[in-house]
Subunit: 256 residues, 2 copies
DNA sequence: TCAAAAGTGTTGGCTGTACACCCATGG
DNA sequence: CCATGGGTGTACAGCCAACACTTTTGA
C-alpha cells in the first residue's frame, strides 16, 4: 500500500506501433489477460513505475508485453479524460512509431494473452458522436494503393468481424495515424522511423509511403524527392524474381 | 491520506501563455509562494484533481493562479523525467497558447505571490549539456524584428538579471515556442490563437508574427497570403495618430 | 519472346520571396 | 508641407504533380 496526502490519478503509457503487412497498414495489439476489457485487444502499455521516465516506461512495457526491444518512439500526447479507464482516473501518455513487421519477433508476455498485428481496416471505428459509423472493410488484401488517387470508400454495411478496442485506444490510434502521416510528408522526419529494412529498394520504400498515406505516388517524383533530400545512398545491387534487379539503398547515417 | 496498491507519480499541468508586449515575446509566469523553488518564477500550473480532465485542470489552475479564464489551449506534451520535481516523481502535462496581453486582467492568487509577463529574452537559458550558455540579452526593447533576417546573436557575457525558472519550465517553454512557431506558419492553425484583438489591422497582426518568428516579414506578401487564406474579412476603418487610417479586419468565424 | 518490375526527364502550375513607390492623414 | 505608417503589383525561383517509354531480368 502506498499513501499520499492528496489523491493521485494513475499514470500509464501506451504504445502505437504501426507497420505494413501485405500492403495493409497494421498496428500491434495485445489481447488483455486481465480485467478490465479482459479478452479484448488493446495497445501494449501499462503503469509507469516509480522514478521511471516516460520513455523508459514505454520501452519496458512494450518489451514485457510483446517482446520487442530497441524501438525508438515519438511522444504523441497525454490522454486524461475521466472515464477513459473503468478502474478510475488514469492518465495515459501515448507514444508511437513505425517498424518493419518482418524483423519483429513477437512474444506475448506479462498481462498479454496474445500479441498480433491487426490491419487498421479491421478495427471498429470510434463513434464520433451520433450514429455508429460503418467500419472500414477492404475488398482485398491489397490496400488502397493504385485505386485511382483517392482513398477507397469503406463499404456501407456494418460488416461484422471488426474489432472493438479497449479503453480509448481507437482514438489514440487515430491520432497516431494522423501524426504519422504528417511526419512522412517531410523525408527528414520520416527517416526517424524504421519504415524499411536497413537495405531497401526505392519501390519498397515507396510502397510503405503509399500504404501509410493511402494513395498512390508517382515513381519518378518519389525517387527524385528522396534523392534530393540526400538522406539515402546506394548500396549494392539485388535481384529477385523474374524482374530486372533493383538498386539497393540505405540510410546515410546507418550503422549497419 | 489516500492509499493505492501501487505507487503513483503525481500529475500536474503547466501552462505556457505567450503574448507580445512592446515588441517582445513574453510569457506569463507566477512567483512561487511555496517550496520547492519558493520565490522563483515558474509556469502557472498545479496538481490535477481527481476525475478532472487535463484540459479542465489546466483551465482551473490558470484561473486560480493568474485570474485568467476563457483561454483555449493546445496540448504540448507530457514531461516525466524523474528528478524534474524535487518533491518526487511528477509527470506534468504541458499546454500552451498565445493571447493578447492587453486584454488579460491578471490577479495573483492561490500559491502565486505574483504574476507577470516576462520577455523570453530575460529568462536564463537551459544548460544544454556542457558549459553554461550565455543568456539572451537584447540591446533594446525592440525585438529582433528588422534586424536583417536572422535572429540576433545573444551577447556572450553572462549578464546578470536573467531569471532562472523553477523545475524544467525553461525547457517546456522552449518546446512550446518551437511549437508556436510551427503553428504560425500555417494561417489556418494560427487562427486558433488569440494573436490580436477581435478587430485588428494587417500591420498589427504582422507585428505579432514578426515577434514570434523573430524575423521581419514583407508587408505585401504577408497581406496577400493572409487574404488568400480567406480567414479574415474587412470590418470598418480606423484612424490613429498622424497617419493614414488602416483597414480593420476580423476573423471570419468571429462572434463579436 | 514475354511478363514484370526498374529506371529515367520534361513541363506547367503554384507558391514563396524579393523588391519600390504613391497615398492618406494629423500635426 | 512633412512625417508617418498604409496600401499596392510584378518578376523570378523552387517545388510539386502529371505524364510514357525503354531496360533488364527470369521463366
Amino acid at each position: 500500500m502506498y499513501r499520499y496526502e492528496y489523491p493521485r490519478p494513475a499514470v500509464t503509457v501506451d504504445v502505437v506501433i504501426f507497420s505494413m503487412r501485405a500492403d495493409d497498414l497494421v498496428v500491434l495489439l495485445v489481447k488483455r489477460k486481465l480485467a478490465p476489457y479482459k479478452g479484448q485487444w488493446a495497445l501494449p502499455g501499462g503503469f509507469v513505475n516509480p522514478n521511471e521516465s516516460l520513455d523508459r516506461a514505454c520501452a519496458r512495457e512494450l518489451e514485457e508485453e510483446t517482446g520487442l526491444s530497441n524501438v525508438r518512439f515519438q511522444q504523441l500526447g497525454a490522454f486524461g479524460d475521466p472515464g477513459r479507464d473503468p478502474r478510475g482516473h488514469t492518465i495515459s501518455v501515448a507514444f508511437f512509431t513505425f517498424i518493419v513487421a518482418e524483423s519483429a519477433i513477437l512474444r506475448a508476455g506479462d498481462d498479454a494473452a496474445e500479441v498480433a498485428w491487426h490491419p487498421l481496416a479491421n478495427l471498429a471505428k470510434e463513434l464520433p458522436t451520433g450514429t455508429h459509423p460503418a467500419p472500414v472493410r477492404r475488398t482485398k488484401a491489397r490496400a488502397v494503393v493504385g485505386k485511382g488517387g483517392k482513398p477507397a470508400r469503406p463499404s456501407r454495411a456494418t460488416k461484422k468481424g471488426t474489432i472493438d478496442l479497449a479503453f480509448d485506444h481507437r482514438r489514440i490510434i487515430d491520432m497516431a495515424q494522423m501524426c504519422l502521416v504528417e511526419r512522412l510528408r517531410d523525408p527528414t522526419r520520416a527517416a526517424s522511423f524504421d519504415l524499411v529494412p536497413s537495405h531497401f529498394t526505392m519501390s519498397e520504400l515507396q510502397r510503405v509511403y503509399e500504404v501509410v498515406l493511402q494513395h498512390p505516388l508517382d515513381k519518378r517524383n518519389f525517387r527524385a524527392k528522396l534523392l534530393a533530400a540526400h538522406l539515402i545512398e546506394p548500396a549494392s545491387a539485388s535481384r529477385r524474381g523474374p524482374h530486372r534487379p533493383a538498386q539497393l539503398y540505405r540510410w546515410k547515417g546507418a550503422a549497419r
